[in-house]
Amino acid sequence: MKARVFVTLKNGVLDPQGKAIGHALNNLGFGSVGEVRQGKVIDIELTEKDEQAARANLKQMCEKLLANTVIEKYEIELRH
């Protein structure tokens, strides 16, 4: 099973990198660009077959290491 984990800054936490990207896009002529937020994508291969167990495990991975929950939130996507 494969998992994709999205780690992004929580709403309300300032994202200066996202802001800089937004400015750059505006400068390139993409006038329709509003707020930009940047995050991380982490792809993980799992040997687990059981989806529920995989989800529980991934949640722990996020809480313990992949995300710093003081400033970040995460989303888990499973692919078969």
């Binding site: 936490v13 300032l14 200066p16 990198q17 800089a20 313990k64 290491l65 992949l66 710093n68 003081v70 400033i71």
Partner: protein, 222 residues
């Protein structure tokens, strides 16, 4: 005072910490590799500046889970003094030994220069040789020193006298909430700060106002 400096892959201020401690305490600190399982019996553990594990994932995130951290957490709970400088501060927040997080500098620039700080709290083993309100000048050298915590945590830190160092007005180099440069844990035996007191101990380096921090520790731990 017996001390240990933890050396992570890509620590780069471990020798500075070593020299400051050796000169001021008159005792050679133990240099302890991050892969070791135990810190020797010491009074002070220093987590030095640098870029442990290349700042992979987040600054301090990998180091916070390295082998030696288990014993450091144990010793911190027992009341042994722990000082985290710069990357060391980032590691302490990632390890949950200090609240909050250190984010990318607000202007996205790596900042490397001396900054003026206000000693906000002299009621700690780390700062008893300073007086409250005293100005000191330590260098900063970081890209991720922007201290963040939720409002309730910030209020609590202030209310409990745990904001020990604050950037002087107009000096905040990174956008830190409430100009916070250094904080204590609840038991007041763990201090994390972004500026480098160990690089402000020798007149050759432009400031000796960092000495009092180590002298405070020597006085309270010897």
């Amino acid at each position: 005072m017996r001390s240990a400096v933890i050396v992570f892959p890509a620590s780069n201020c471990d020798r500075d910490a070593h020299d400051a401690l050796a000169q001021l305490s008159g005792r050679e600190p133990h240099m302890v590799w991050h892969g070791d399982s135990d810190v020797p019996d010491v009074d002070l553990i220093v987590l030095p500046g640098g870029f442990a594990y290349g700042d992979y994932l987040r600054c301090g995130a990998m180091a916070a889970h390295s082998h030696i951290m288990r014993d450091i957490k144990r010793k911190a709970e027992q009341g042994i003094a722990v000082l985290g400088i710069c990357n060391g501060f980032q590691i302490l927040t990632e390890a949950g030994l200090l609240p909050g997080a250190l984010m990318r500098n607000a202007d996205l620039k790596f900042v490397c220069r001396p900054v003026e700080l206000v000693v906000e709290e002299s009621q700690s083993g780390f700062t008893r040789k300073y007086s409250k309100g005293e100005r000191v000048r330590f260098p900063v050298a970081h890209g991720e020193g922007n201290y963040f915590a939720d409002e309730a945590t910030l209020d609590r830190l202030e209310g409990e006298g745990r904001v020990v160092f604050r950037y002087a007005p107009g000096e905040n180099p990174n956008g830190s909430a409430r100009d916070i440069a250094g904080i204590l844990n609840e038991k007041r035996n763990v201090l994390g700060l972004m500026p480098h007191p160990e690089r402000a101990c020798d007149p050759l380096l432009g400031s000796t106002t960092g000495r009092a921090l180590f002298q405070s520790l020597i006085e309270s731990l010897t």
